[in-house]
Symmetry: C2
Subunit: 365 residues, 2 copies
DNA sequence: CTCACGTGCTAAATCGTTTTAGCGCATTTC
DNA sequence: GAAATGCGCTAAAACGATTTAGCACGTGAG
């Protein structure tokens, strides 16, 4: 019985509290807290006492209770992160970037996926994070229509909303890079996948692409423009359906029986799905159809054919968003409502090639 | 000035507290808390008062402060989730499964990646989560060597540690399925990628595969067995290096100049990387080499060639782990130290085919 | 008339910190 | 000798909820 460790009263393996230390050292909790936090007030406390405090804290393995600290300080050192779907490789890379910056800054994050649900459910997600008392939020490819209550950064949003910081790619440059590349290869009639209606990149990117096409005199006819999952129109977003969707729309595109020599997909996932659909229809990529993606997710360099794509620095964008949201939380108010624009980069690999001679595509099988 | 909303004192948009409600209703905070939480004690409180309380709560948009509740109740309704790397598609699918169950149960989760760091740093990760006062933990492919302090579930661990629940695949069945398939196709000399030394699946899976090979009379010679990143030996884990590693080891395998007709990769990512290495060396898959993966991550069905693989129900495993950890937290103590074994499934696609005739591989280019 | 019980609440402790105001004593300053 | 200053600390009030013990009043029973 008496062979028990010290602190006989609370025999269970509960972590020691300030009060425990205080009793043991015969000091008040105030003193200990002051010393441990290196408060300026503690300057008046003699070195010897301070050492006693530190020694006891070490001996007892004292760790301040995070919840109590949060209650007092009204900060949780946590950020809410909302993505369309965690298992989407595109989102996962952004999250990885967010994570690396946050953890290095002693913040944690709560992750939730809205699965591209209705605006109403989106509000529930925000509400959830707010209730959990996050200090700020990062929204990935998610539109917000009113000013946020907390410091918030949107990655790949496009609406200018008051009080919202943004991290976006330069869509105009991206469009020009991709289309100039295709034009140089001789492509003139190009099919286009627009993004899902719920995805906030959709509008900006499409607009930029059509503008660039016009200025480069490249045709992107409406009959060759498909809106991913827009036309089927149901709201349920099966997790990880990105490739599947590209596949379905690749088939749909072929079904239109309108000639094209290249496809500018909305992202790498839909590009890869479409390539599979083309293969299954007996078409070769890039010999019969060139395909260019967007994002440069990890698989792009290993797919077969290796995917030509417009690279977004996803991890970097995540890191930037994390940095900005922390800046806003910690008072450098300047970044309010700012736009950080990152540069895309054209990565030419094997899924694009010279346009085949005219009129040989239909039933190349 | 007087046109301000009600609650004139705290003019800022702070959320109302119980005290605010109490003042407004001229009741004590105790009463309101009792009513709002449908405490049995509140049975004595007349219907009319209760209605007043509910009405006021609704009108003020009252939400209990999560931090305060947590401090009092000593629960945070949050789970710590530790994965090797968020952006690994394999981990991301598991996380997606975990998430769907947790959010549906009104729990949130803190996600951290250990990036396959040293055991020492792993302790830091656990320490971080513990400090953040999670109610339980889910460890993905991460070995724990001592009994955990909190309810903990490991996915794809293999050590039997007291107090730890486990969700694992039936490795023996998995090995038999894969090797029987290869044998049927005529493969007799098979190369093998073992997992990274830090990955807890490595040992069990290798053992199962060698056992199955022996019983099926298939040769897996040491010269054809490579341990991913084990031999290079550095500890730093570049985010998302999974494909890259498969590529490097695919090259390494070819460099050994030992004949083989099939590769059993450690996972789909390393399979895809190796396929690319084979292509780059002028080999065709499956005509020259068959490749079988493990996991069935989303890309597997869309890769070219479509990947034959041993499917793990990743999302399901995540959901199970979440369910088990919540059960343990909420007192159904039975699941302590349990093993949940899930079944693998062989998915035959296009990356495996009949073994080519003997002695034609070397420099098939 | 006294006691018991039911009704409708509330006071106060508690969770574990942080932080401000200030106490009691000793020493220095003029 | 009085006033000021410095030293080394602490009391106590927050932060915002939950929960136990019990108060005050009214009614009915014996």
């Amino acid at each position: 019985m008496s062979t028990r460790k010290k602190r006989s009263k609370k025999s269970r393996s509960e972590r020691p509290t300030l009060k425990d230390l205080a009793e043991h050292l015969d000091l008040s909790t105030a003193t200990i807290s002051l010393v441990l936090n290196h408060s300026p007030v503690a300057a008046a406390i003699p070195e010897e006492t301070q050492q006693r405090v530190f020694a006891a804290a070490r001996e007892f393995g004292y760790r301040p209770n995070y919840i109590a600290v949060s209650l007092r300080s009204r900060r949780t050192n946590s950020i809410g992160v909302l993505v369309p779907e965690v298992s989407d490789p595109w989102a996962a890379e952004i999250v990885s970037g967010i994570e690396s910056h946050l953890l290095a800054s002693d913040y944690t994050y709560l992750l939730t996926s809205h699965r591209r649900s209705t605006p109403k459910l989106l509000r529930d997600d925000l509400e959830l994070l707010t209730r959990r008392a996050v200090d700020g939020m990062i929204l990935v490819a998610t539109e917000l229509h009113e000013p946020p209550l907390l410091p918030t950064v949107v990655i790949s949003g496009h609406k200018r909303v008051k009080g919202l910081s943004n991290v976006v790619i330069d869509h105009d440059l991206a469009a020009r890079l991709a289309l100039a590349h295709l034009k140089e290869l001789g492509h003139r009639r190009i099919a286009l996948f627009r993004g899902q209606p719920g995805s906030s990149d959709t509008e900006d990117r499409s607009r930029a692409i059509l503008a660039a096409a016009a200025s480069l005199k490249i045709e992107i006819p409406p009959k060759l423009t498909l809106q991913l999952s827009g036309e089927e129109g149901d709201e349920v977003f099966a997790p990880n359906a990105a490739y599947q969707e590209g596949y379905a729309f690749g088939q749909k595109l072929l079904g239109r029986r309108v000639d094209f020599t290249a496809l500018f997909a909305f992202d790498d996932a839909s590009a890869i799905g479409a390539i599979r659909a083309f293969f299954d229809a007996g078409l070769r990529v890039p010999e019969d159809v060139s395909v260019i993606g967007f994002d440069d997710i990890q698989i792009a360099a290993f797919h077969n054919p290796r995917l030509t794509t417009v690279r977004q620095p996803l991890r970097e964008m995540g890191r930037i968003a994390a940095r900005v949201v922390l800046e806003r939380i910690n008072g450098s108010e300047r970044s309010d409502g700012s736009f950080v624009v990152v540069e895309p980069e054209l990565i030419v690999r094997d899924s694009t090639g010279p346009a085949r001679g005219r009129e040989s595509k239909k039933d190349a099988r």
